[in-house]
Symmetry: C2
Subunit: 231 residues, 2 copies
């Protein structure tokens, strides 16, 4: 998705959740989370739940406000269970087609606190808002919201990109072939006025899997048909 | 995936994790988890982390052994961070193509405890074993493992199934058309011995998106070519 990905927790209340989120950062190879105004006294419980990740826990950075934490970010993605006219949320899975996914830069994933989630004002700082569709209780525990979002992001970014090989035909090459099929058949007095004719050709030839050598063979067939027609 | 899906936690040590898993069951609309020999004294911490889901927490069932918990299940899927010769694990995403995904019945998702995960003996009770590929620390907190697996299962089962319409062509219909193309071209003295010819035809016509009416149009073209050849 981005050149760099970070997490920010806004006013978290539970040290246990902070520790669990640190552990998730370790699972996904991320830096320690940014903490915006956490409830005082979180350190002890966080150290317990971060358990084997205390070094990472020691690297958490503290901020007074969400503006301060997100100052240098290109994209600020908020996650909320609440939707509404004032909150245009998108389904979590659409995060891969969101504006932030198309561009590089520094992206911060922002999660609200345990009791209220992101407030309207926090949402105002977000460039995009997402929610997970759940069949039951519509709101996750904070650390589970983080776990789910990180899994979804990693699931897609780690998947091998579809190979586009040199030998795969291009859209333009397929268009030229369609044009030629139509011409050849016209020369052979085939009536191409059938309303479904164009659609059928397009469905036949739009297959991305068609290779250059496939198109060469089809051109050879057309050459043969034209030759026979004229000799 | 299955007619019914349940969770089992084997020898969980932390009441907090039990409560968090109960909350996840509420998020995903599942029954309360089956608990196999939990560490005594879990109830209080579980009540705290299950918070708004205490009714569901009260419905957890206790078992003495994994055999007892899984007695009536058709499929027992285990989740483990450890892989090895003795443990044939599959990537989490492949859970949708696993044997249990193909058949109905009662499926139990089994998670080991916080310290050791599933033991070899527990794995012996599982019909399939899965692991999540993580770029960092290779082992999840127990409740995050559950969160990730439930998200992955829900993500796919909630997605709309691809529409298979009546008008879509079948493999057999496409095979017949390939045969006829070959015959017509032979009649027209087109040399079909090109080693790439068969592959090209298959790539051209294997497109599942080809509709019945597309095939009709292609047959019409072939009829036309044959007619011109013989008159």
């Amino acid at each position: 998705m981005s050149d760099s990905l970070e997490l920010a927790l806004v006013r978290p209340q539970s040290g246990e959740n902070i520790g669990l989120v640190v552990r998730l950062c370790a699972n996904y190879g991320l830096a320690a989370p940014l903490l915006v105004a956490p409830e005082p006294g979180w350190e002890r419980a966080a150290a317990r739940t971060a358990s084997m990740c205390r070094e990472l826990l020691a690297q958490t950075l503290l901020f007074e406000s969400i503006e301060q934490a997100c100052e240098e970010a290109q994209h600020v993605l908020g996650f909320t269970a609440r939707a509404g006219k004032e909150r245009r949320t998108m389904a979590l899975e659409s995060i891969h087609s969101g504006a932030s996914a198309q561009r590089g830069g520094r992206t911060i994933l922002v999660f609200g606190n345990e009791r209220t989630g992101l407030e309207d004002e926090d949402c105002g700082h977000c460039t995009e808002l997402y929610r997970a569709a759940l069949p039951g209780l519509p709101s996750f525990n904070l650390s589970h919201a983080v776990a789910t979002v990180l899994y979804e992001l990693h699931r897609v970014s780690a998947a091998p990109a579809p190979k586009i090989e040199e030998r795969t035909s291009t859209h333009e090459e397929r268009q030229l072939l369609i044009e030629r099929v139509r011409n050849t058949l016209s020369q052979m007095e085939y009536r191409t006025a059938d309303p479904h004719f164009d659609g059928a050709l397009r469905r036949l030839l739009r297959a991305q899997a068609l290779q250059r050598r496939d198109l060469r063979i089809l051109h050879k067939i057309l050459t043969h048909l034209e030759y026979r027609e004229h000799h």
